[in-house]
């Protein structure tokens, strides 16, 4: 069958079961969009309003479905606009394939119109990338890209395809296998090493008195939720999760301590600081998780299991490092482990936990007109009974989401972790809704991040996506203001934000817009939004200067945290400032 390069792109997408593409057309990708015209019955193209949001939506789609997310853009500015989204997918190990048009091959290197060295620009923010100047290479490159993006530690792969390659034709047979000389999804370990490593790990776990499991996104990627559950039920070891590890274990499980790190609850961080063994599963000891490395878990030995060999020993030295798929490693490890309950250790952690409960912001009895961001998060949780997918933006509301939303469903929270990409929330909710059409999807964003992605309201309307949007409006760039408050002597440099009338904005887009200024109104509009059959934009006008606590200040040890005041001792205003 003779097909053009453009047709081969769509055929490959069909073969790879990639039926949703987020993109934006332009000159150098025109032949591919022309070919799409004949594939519209089989492939849904979502026309975003900015290419960055195509990449972010594709990333979220991948996280929501476990499949590869695909985005598309033209050469030059189209491709460079993808960069933030690719960097986001790279940091959070999300499988994304980006297809960009490039100027015709005879023009490459001539500074032709809309020419940019896209493989050069995206090299450090992709797992791999390709420049295709010869159509004979195209079918294999496309197949390889999907394989590289999805396998091992996933990540974004970009394919830059010259315009003439899209136009030329070759005899096409579907690629059913790829041969890659250099690529190993997982760095193989010496076979004879594995039994002794597993035995060493088991011996450490069986003899530990104060162990903690650090569970990261690798559990999700490796679909090891069941093995993790088996592990803790057998060994009684409590679990702390990373931000991206939220959703690897239901948060109502008594052994799930919930999120650790800079804004993790104090009892979680204390447990880690006092541990004698850390069992790190598919996580990478990010600085937001460890605090000051020199003082991190000083009495703990470390078992580090990760699919990426380069993560082991990068930030924290591991007594036992095992490279592999966490599901497989845990399956091999489980039979070697003894039953345990760790009663004393858990009792100690629970004492710390009681102290945290006493300091809960929600314990404070506040007047109705005093609306806090944590109220909003908790109200969404109560209204939905936790049965929804949440896409957050980045900042204070994101951290409050982790604290006040109890995640009971697998992979429920979609959030930008490593890169901390403001503007992620709205495009992520688009990717999430398309990936999980039957799910109730909430985008939660601050007034800052939301204003970065406002144009995507048009995408939501054009695609008729039933997304509920919650804007937590404190009229500040909240997290930056918090740092200015705590570290820069309240010098609020460029963090005050004027915001538009969001109700009128929603109306202009043909969307229902609601606003709440009080706790009563908050509950009303959440109910109203959920009852409405279509997208809704809810604005919650909250206290402007509230800080997220606890907080590990920069350079401090993980358990040296700025805490909330115990509510019983305060007037209820302390946390609000």
């Amino acid at each position: 069958m003779k097909l053009t390069g453009a047709q081969i792109i769509w055929e490959t997408l069909l073969q790879q079961d990639a039926r949703i593409v987020f993109g934006y057309p332009g000159g150098a990708i025109l032949p591919t969009y022309d070919a799409l015209y004949d594939y519209q019955d089989r492939i849904r193209h979502v026309l975003v309003r900015h290419e960055e949001n195509a990449a972010l939506a594709a990333d979220a789609y991948a996280r929501a479905t476990g499949k590869v997310g695909v985005c598309m853009a033209t050469s030059g500015p189209g491709a460079t606009n993808l960069v933030t989204g690719l960097a986001n997918a790279m940091m959070d190990s999300s499988p994304v394939v980006a297809i960009t048009g490039q100027v015709a091959s005879h023009l490459v290197g001539t500074d032709a119109f809309q020419e940019t060295d896209v493989t050069g620009v995206t090299l450090p923010v992709t797992k791999h990338n390709y420049l295709v100047m010869d159509i004979e290479e195209l079918p294999e490159v496309l197949a390889e890209a999907f394989y590289v993006a999805k396998s091992g530690r996933p990540g974004p792969v970009l394919i830059d395809i010259c315009k003439d390659v899209q136009q030329k034709s070759i005899e096409y047979t579907p690629v059913t296998h790829v041969q890659m000389r250099g690529y190993r999804a997982v760095k193989p370990m010496h076979k004879q090493d594995i039994p002794s490593l597993l035995n060493n790990a088991a011996a450490l776990i069986n003899s530990a008195a104060r162990p903690v499991i650090l569970a990261g996104q690798g559990i999700k990627t490796g679909e090891a939720h069941g093995e993790l559950c088996e592990l803790i039920n057998k060994t009684g070891v409590p679990v702390a999760t990373t931000l991206l590890g939220i959703g690897v274990l239901t948060e109502d499980h008594p052994l799930n301590l919930r999120m650790m790190g800079m804004h993790g609850e104090a009892y979680v961080n204390k447990a880690i600081a006092n541990a004698d063994l850390l069992i790190a599963l598919g996580m990478r000891f990010d600085d937001r998780v460890t605090g000051n490395l020199a003082q991190y878990a000083r009495n703990a030995k470390v078992i580090h299991i990760d699919i990426d060999a380069a993560e082991i020993g990068k930030n924290v030295r591991a007594e036992v490092g095992i490279v592999g798929n966490v599901k497989q490693v845990l399956q091999d490890l489980l039979p070697l482990l003894a039953n345990n309950t760790h009663r004393d250790w858990l009792a100690r952690i629970n004492e710390w936990r009681d102290d945290t409960r006493m300091r809960d912001v929600l314990n404070q009895v506040l007047p109705d007109e005093m609306l806090l961001a944590p109220h909003v998060i908790r109200a969404i949780w109560e209204a939905t009974k936790g049965e929804c997918t949440i896409a957050t933006d980045v900042g204070q509301h994101q951290m409050w989401e982790t604290q006040y939303f109890q995640h009971i469903r697998k992979n429920q929270l979609l959030t930008s972790g490593g890169l901390g990409t403001m503007g992620f929330g709205l495009p992520a909710s688009i990717g999430a809704k398309l990936g999980r059409p039957d799910d109730e999807v909430w985008a939660i964003a601050g007034d800052g991040g939301f204003q970065m992605s406002i144009p995507e309201l048009a995408t939501i309307m054009q695609e008729k996506l039933n997304i509920k949007i919650a804007i937590i409006n404190n009229h500040f760039l909240g997290m930056v203001r918090q740092w200015q408050d705590l570290i820069h002597n309240k010098r609020y440099s460029q963090t005050q934000m004027w915001t538009p009338n969001f109700q009128k904005l929603a109306e202009a887009y043909g969307m229902l817009g609601l606003r709440a200024n009080t706790q009563t109104e908050m509950r009303q509009i959440i109910d109203q939004a959920r009852a409405h059959d279509g997208p809704v934009l809810c604005e919650f006008v909250v206290e402007p200067e509230m800080n997220v606590f606890p907080m590990v200040m920069p350079g401090k040890a993980l358990d040296d945290m700025a805490r909330r005041e115990p509510a019983a001792l305060g007037t209820g205003m302390d946390a609000v400032k």
Binding site: K127, I312, G313
Partner: protein, 190 residues
């Protein structure tokens, strides 16, 4: 980035990595971009062709007191175009560097002396001019350093060094099995 200080103290400061890479456009860019991105300190990087036209060979010297050579190896391995990486520091191996040193020749007496120095280092004079000559020296870096030091008193005009190249002794060669990935109907590799 953790530096393995214990290893750096007890073992050699300089680690030699040999990488076999696919001979494709941009591969050197990928390797050097990795070093920059990870803040790896590299002493030298030598690249050349091999007996296989599809494969190039890189010899990379890492200063282990500043950079964890193990992490360099593992990160290199992750690059899709890198076929194999081997740390040959502790393997019996042949290590060489080639240098061309252009030396100032003040008079014919000096010319004779320089020739004599070159002979003592079993190196060769490969270009002679009225007031300069070029010495070609090959060997381990220490030897190149030594002749450089000796020639310095005559006035060195220009130097080029290839950087270290290395090969493990014996029959073993850096080899690498090929993975074949087969796609099923739903496009998922297995």
């Amino acid at each position: 980035m953790l530096v393995d200080h214990a290893a750096a103290r007890h073992n050699q400061q300089k680690h030699t990595l040999v990488a076999l890479v696919e001979n494709k456009p941009g591969v050197l860019n990928r390797v050097s971009s990795l070093f920059r991105r990870r803040n790896f300190n590299i002493d030298s990087l030598a690249v050349g062709t091999t007996d296989d036209p599809n494969v190039s060979r890189m010899t990379i010297v890492v200063d282990a007191s500043r950079t964890n050579a193990d992490l360099v190896e593992r990160n290199l391995y992750k690059l899709v175009n890198v076929i194999d990486v081997q740390d040959v520091t502790h393997l019996p191996s042949v290590v060489r560097e080639l240098a061309l040193i252009k030396v100032h020749v003040a008079n014919t007496v000096k010319r004779g002396e320089i020739k004599h120095v070159a002979d003592m280092f079993q190196s060769r004079v490969v270009d002679v001019n009225k007031d300069s000559l070029i010495v070609e020296v090959a060997g381990e870096e220490e030897k190149v350093d030594s002749i450089f030091n000796v020639l310095e008193e005559y006035g060195i005009m220009e130097v080029v060094r290839t950087g270290r190249i290395a090969m493990a002794r014996g029959g073993a060669r850096a080899a690498h099995e090929q993975d074949e990935i087969v796609f099923s109907g739903n496009g998922q590799p297995h």
